[in-house]
Symmetry: C2
């Protein structure tokens, strides 16, 4: 079994209104020293595959086919254990 | 400036229908060797504060007040740079 951490974030330059709204809310609440923020998703997948390289490749294929919107998002898969 | 990574996940035992739906979809698409998956959020905050400990404490306070739903979610803040 290999545990994979997948992180999915918007590509650079893609407008993120959700992060902007949260950033504004933080400012309004007194956290004025937050100069920028980005938001993303993470998933932890347990894959029944002992070969780490194969597990990473499978996770990347899952990202391309389902987990990420590759037009707007970039993804990264790394071994946790 | 300190860059903080905040990760927010559901507490253990909290039912996650979104992760369940994605897990089922992966199975249907032929990724039958995924035995479990969890989904969470991550945020990267640039905080105008050079003291790492203070920056972490501020990020944790933001989680408690806004970013996380502490009834259902647990959060973790760590220094990225």
């Amino acid at each position: 079994m290999t545990r994979i951490l997948v992180t999915i974030n918007l590509k650079n330059g893609v407008h993120d209104p959700q992060a902007e709204a949260v950033h504004h809310a933080l400012q309004d609440m007194g956290f004025g020293n937050v100069t920028s923020m980005t938001m993303g998703k993470q998933m932890v997948l347990d894959i029944n595959e002992d070969d780490h390289d194969k597990a990473i490749k499978q996770a990347e294929e899952m990202c391309r086919q389902l987990l990420a919107n590759t037009v707007l998002e970039r993804f990264e898969a790394q071994v946790l254990l």
